[in-house]
């Protein structure tokens, strides 16, 4: 009844589109959060084999690391369950600056 698209990123639609185009695709989903995690449980990011991605699983803090893991998943077909924890000075690149924690599940689209 509506012409509106409420899911701005249309992550799942993009996953299906990339898959249909014959590309390797992985889906990353936030499955748990603790503390002040920026994106709620259920937030998703889809990655294609070349490293293009749509969606988000944090405020930009861990997307880079998740994309790297997701590309591994596309190659080896293995699911991954990864904790991203509180950052400190030495590990801030893959931490959450807000001090929150989240768990991300990465799976191939097969």
């Amino acid at each position: 009844m509506n012409e509106q698209n409420v899911d701005h990123e249309a992550v799942l639609e993009k996953a299906a589109e990339w898959k249909a185009a014959g590309r390797g695709v992985a889906l990353a989903t936030v499955v748990a959060t603790w503390g002040s995690s920026p994106r709620p449980v259920g937030s998703q990011l889809v990655v294609e084999e070349g490293g293009d991605f749509v969606g988000s699983v944090s405020g930009g803090c861990i997307e880079g690391a998740v994309v790297t893991e997701a590309r591994q998943t596309i190659q080896d077909g293995q699911t991954r369950l990864i904790d991203y924890g509180i950052s400190d000075e030495t590990a801030w690149q893959v931490g959450l600056a807000c001090g929150g924690k989240c768990e991300v599940f990465i799976e191939p689209l097969v």
């Binding site: 409420v6 989903t29 499955v31 599940f105 799976e107 689209l109 097969v110």
Partner: protein
């Protein structure tokens, strides 16, 4: 995730069907569950999972559940895909223009009811569902549920009141009415004569919007979206703020 499951999930979402995607976090196996629909009683395999799915669906809160499976439990992620929140705006007035756009950005399926065609024109509301009907019929057509917010903007009793009389008998999680304190007091007086009680009045946010001093239509729309968000996400705080 298997491609055929993804296709089904996309079809369900397009059809605005309530669906829960269950994914075993160890094996990666996924399945779609429809806990809001009557299920086949002979299929007694995964009642515990279906029960958990119903709980997270009603709470609109995705999360991990532990499902007993023989000696050990298995961790299953339940991803709730509820249909979009909905908003019905009564009155295709100026504030409805920014409000409807902001509501779309905030994730609502929006419809506007106004029998005055010069107001409810396609040029003024591109992409928004327009219901050309009297507001009470419009409310019937829209069929508000507990994931619906209703906003009346005409502050004209002959348009707002028939809508409110219908809306107060629905499960809408938010009801807000534009108009000054004086207008609102008169509105409650009229609704009282229709047989509505103090408990009904308490459901109505009037004057509408959080008190942030908004002046322009867009600023007032921000205060309305903010108040609806509070009613949705922090219902207790929203009540005590009254």
């Amino acid at each position: 995730m298997k491609s055929d499951i993804l296709k089904q999930l996309l079809a369900d979402r397009a059809a605005k069907r309530q669906v829960v995607m269950a994914t075993d976090l160890a094996s990666g196996e996924g399945q779609l569950l429809y806990p809001g629909e009557p299920h086949d009683e002979t299929d007694d395999g995964d009642d515990e999972l279906l029960f958990a799915a119903r709980r997270v669906m009603l709470a609109d809160k995705s999360g991990i559940v532990e499902i007993a499976d023989g000696a050990d439990g298995r961790k299953v992620f339940l991803h709730v895909y509820n249909p979009p929140l909905r908003m019905l705006i009564v009155g295709a007035v100026h504030i409805a223009q920014p409000l409807s756009q902001m509501a779309v950005l905030a994730g609502y399926d929006v419809a506007i009811v106004d029998p005055r065609r010069e107001f409810a024109s396609r040029d003024r509301f591109p992409g928004i569902t327009l219901i050309d009907a009297w507001p009470d019929d419009g409310v019937d057509q829209f069929a508000p549920d507990r994931r619906t917010a209703i906003v009346t903007l005409t502050h004209d009793p002959k348009l707002d009141d028939p809508a409110l009389i219908k809306v107060l008998r629905s499960d809408a999680f938010y009801i807000g009415c534009l108009g000054s304190n004086r207008t609102h007091a008169k509105r409650l007086e009229r609704l009282g004569m229709e047989g509505f009680s103090q408990a009904d009045f308490a459901r109505i946010n009037g004057p509408i919007g959080l008190d942030i001093g908004g002046k322009s239509p867009a600023e007032i729309a921000v205060s309305i979206i903010a108040e609806i968000t509070q009613a949705l996400r922090r219902p207790k705080q929203a009540q005590t703020a009254e």
